[in-house]
């Protein structure tokens, strides 16, 4: 395994404005790394630094064991959030041009393009004008151009925007396939369900600072608060809830149920195990629902941003 990309203490100023403050991130080879943060947090700046579009004012970026150099442009594929194509060029011509800029020879670019165009079933677009394409079609071309030169590191900034659900799924599967083939992927998005689904690691950037990073599972573990969602059928709901409130912190729960039971969330101290809780609850009524509340990526995002 090992690290493919290491970002060490990177800072970036735009005039007096600090866009990135001492950011350190390391990304495992073959992982899908979610780069999260609210708008204007500094994600794009960080991505641009990795792409050598802008230079950091301090700190270093190590790709595959070497400090980042212009030659590494070949090793990176970047699908920016603000993306487009030359309107007046033909699809094939444009894909060839962009591929050659990434260092492929014309023949090799042609072969690979043919493979990808066939694979995504867009082979007959070669001679179309970009202006004739819909937004989703253009996005497909951009995706192909991004991955065409088989880079070690792929950076996708909001890759699913503009795709219908079917094509979004198609692209998602392609991304997962690329990971299988050994690519490392940085994934920046606001769609938390994709993060949940795809990312192994995440980093959360807020107001130019990294406030959280690590394995998604570890982060979830760290964020769980021993809270359970309970459904309890009792004779007197008010009495039961009053009794429990004396000992624990209760809050509202909202799950769908076929019963007319008492629904609540309960947070238990460290010294009480779930088994003990179940025993206590069953003595008070019939247990209809018992689930540990595991924070979603969305919860973690909101919680961390609001606390900072």
């Amino acid at each position: 395994m090992g690290k493919l990309l290491e970002i060490n203490n990177v800072s970036k100023f735009y005039g007096a404005y600090k866009a990135l403050n001492d950011i350190s991130i390391s990304i495992d080879r073959g992982s899908i790394y979610g780069l999260l943060g609210p708008n204007g947090a500094g994600k794009t700046t960080l991505i641009r630094i990795i792409n050598q579009i802008t230079m950091p004012d301090s700190g270093s970026v190590i790709l595959d064991g070497e400090p980042l150099r212009p030659v590494h442009i070949r090793d990176i594929g970047y699908l920016p959030e603000e993306r487009g194509l030359y309107k007046t060029m033909k699809v094939g011509e444009q894909a060839l041009y962009l591929a050659q800029l990434k260092g492929l020879s014309k023949n090799e670019a042609k072969q690979r393009l043919k493979y990808w165009f066939d694979r995504l079933d867009i082979g007959d677009w070669w001679n179309k004008n970009i202006q004739e394409l819909s937004k989703g079609m253009a996005q497909k071309i951009q995706f192909v151009v991004t991955v065409l030169h088989s880079p070690k590191l792929l950076i996708f900034d909001e890759p699913f925007s503009g795709f219908d659900p079917i094509n979004a799924n198609l692209i998602k599967d392609e991304i997962l396939q690329l990971r299988e083939e050994g690519a490392t992927i940085i994934f920046s998005t606001h769609r938390m369900e994709s993060v949940e689904e795809m990312c192994d690691h995440i980093a959360l950037i807020h107001k130019s600072n990294k406030i959280l990073d690590g394995k998604l599972i570890d982060i979830k573990r760290a964020h769980k608060s021993n809270t359970f969602e309970i459904g309890l059928a009792t004779e007197n709901k008010d009495l039961t809830s009053a009794k429990l409130s004396e000992k624990y912190t209760l809050s509202k729960a909202s799950f769908k149920s076929i019963y007319d039971e008492l629904q609540f969330r309960i947070q238990i101290p460290e010294n009480i195990t779930p088994n003990q809780l179940i025993q206590e609850l069953t003595s008070m009524g019939r247990l209809t629902h018992f689930v540990e509340v595991i924070p979603s990526a969305n919860d973690i995002f909101i919680q961390n941003i609001q606390n900072n």
């Binding site: 735009y14 970047y78 309107k87 060029m89 962009l98 050659q100 800029l101």
Partner: protein
């Protein structure tokens, strides 16, 4: 292929394949030749209309003096009164009536000759009549004083001052005009080239921004390389278009003049004649003088300096156009930034055509031929009149030093600007970008 050549080829091909570019390449020479042909045709029509003038000479002095010219025909009226003559002139719808009253006093006569016409007569017709009458009156006046006009005529000397530089080169009045044409052409060509292709570069930068393709490109290519490739590619397209224009105009001119028999040079020649009425030398002489003058021009110096100033001046402005393109989001936002570019260009042309013509080596001309933003135009116009080499070299050096500085600034602003979307920056922000 490396990045730069890839970009140059792409820029060149997209420009050249563009429909409006192709249309303009073929349409402009057609329009140009069409206008020249039209002017030539109209002036030849104008020249061929014959104007008839009735003459009522009551003094009987001038009979036999009226020589018909190609455009003017004189017809003498006899045994009629002024009123009748006027009436006849009006009903016959001729050009006008020249009335010479009956008096023997020449001084009085010279003040009382009148030309009647429906509206203000043309200058050439009036000059023609005045010349003729004046000559006769002067001759009569000399006779009155007891002198033989023929002897006086023989005694008249025609003076033509020879013009020579200290180095012994002969110059002529024609030479000054030629120098003006050469210098003016060079300066104006540069001016047009900057305006047309500078704008093209700017639009191509804006297009990359609005289509959002820029961020993909810039992750593969250094902004400086992209900027350079854009400028060079567009320039190549521009030079191709210019060459095509020159060739097409030449071909069309040849075709037009042989097809319609219109001598397109006749417009020039006729203006030359009216300007230079004393010029009685034959066309052949004129050509030899022109050729001699052209040979006398510092041709080699002119060509080398033209190339240097063209490259320096064009690239200086082209990088500024690219900078503006990078700073804004759409073409409508460019207005506020265009002023500082167009102003010095127009000033250069203005100084060139007004001050340099008047005094090629005056202090105003000199100053503006050192200021890098006007020097390409003004210095190019001055060079045919003879500018010391060291002055030219200083001007070129200043131009290229400024060029490097401006390109550095433009590249910085370009680098930041191409990734800024959605707002129109102020000048203050542009200066801030330099520190990024």
């Amino acid at each position: 292929m490396n990045h730069l050549s890839l970009i140059i080829v792409r820029e060149f091909l997209t420009k050249v394949r563009n429909k409006s570019f192709i249309v303009m390449t073929f349409l402009s020479p057609l329009i140009f030749v069409g206008i020249v042909a039209l002017v030539a045709y109209l002036s030849s029509v104008n020249n061929s209309t014959v104007r008839t003038i009735y003459v009522l000479d009551e003094s009987d002095i001038f009979i036999g003096e009226f020589n018909n010219s190609t455009n003017l025909k004189y017809q003498l009226l006899f045994d009629t009164t002024l009123d009748n003559a006027k009436e006849k002139t009006e009903t016959d719808e001729v050009y006008g009536l020249l009335h010479i009253p009956n008096t023997t006093n020449l001084d009085e006569l010279s003040k009382r000759i009148t030309f009647y016409s429906p509206d203000t007569p043309s200058l050439t017709a009036m000059n023609n009549m005045t010349d003729m009458l004046e000559k006769k009156l002067n001759a009569l006046k000399l006779q009155e004083a007891g002198m033989d006009p023929e002897i006086i005529d023989k005694l008249q000397l025609k003076l033509d001052i020879n013009q020579q530089t200290y180095k012994g080169q002969e110059t002529s009045k024609m030479g000054a005009g030629l120098k003006l044409i050469f210098g003016g052409l060079a300066g104006y060509l540069l001016f047009m080239f900057i305006i047309i292709y500078g704008n093209m570069i700017m639009r191509s930068v804006i297009e990359e921004k609005t289509s959002r393709v820029i961020e993909v490109i810039i992750s593969s290519v250094k902004p400086r390389i992209l900027l350079l490739g854009k400028i060079l590619g567009t320039t190549l397209a521009g030079i191709s278009q210019f060459i095509a224009w020159v060739l097409l105009i030449f071909i069309l001119m040849t075709v037009a003049s042989s097809l319609f028999g219109i001598d397109t040079t006749s417009t020039m020649a006729s203006t030359q004649q009216t300007l230079d009425t004393n010029n009685t030398e034959g066309i052949q002489d004129m050509y030899t003088i022109i050729m001699m003058e052209i040979m006398n021009l510092p041709i080699l110096n002119l060509i080398i300096m033209f190339i240097l100033f063209f490259i320096g001046g064009y690239l200086l402005y082209a990088s500024m156009y690219a900078m503006i393109g990078a700073a804004v989001d759409s073409e409508t936002d460019t207005q506020q930034f265009m002023m500082p570019i167009v102003m010095p260009l127009v000033l250069g042309i203005y100084v060139g055509f007004f001050t340099v013509i008047d005094n090629p080596h005056g202090s105003v001309s000199q100053i503006f031929s050192y200021i890098p933003f006007t020097s390409p135009i003004v210095m190019l116009m001055r060079i045919p009149f003879g500018v010391p080499l060291w002055q030219q070299l200083i001007s070129v050096a200043i131009l290229f030093a400024t060029f490097i500085l401006v390109v550095w600034v433009a590249a910085k602003i370009y680098r930041v600007g191409i990734l800024m979307y959605g707002k129109k920056p102020s000048y203050k922000e542009l200066i801030k970008w330099l520190k990024y």
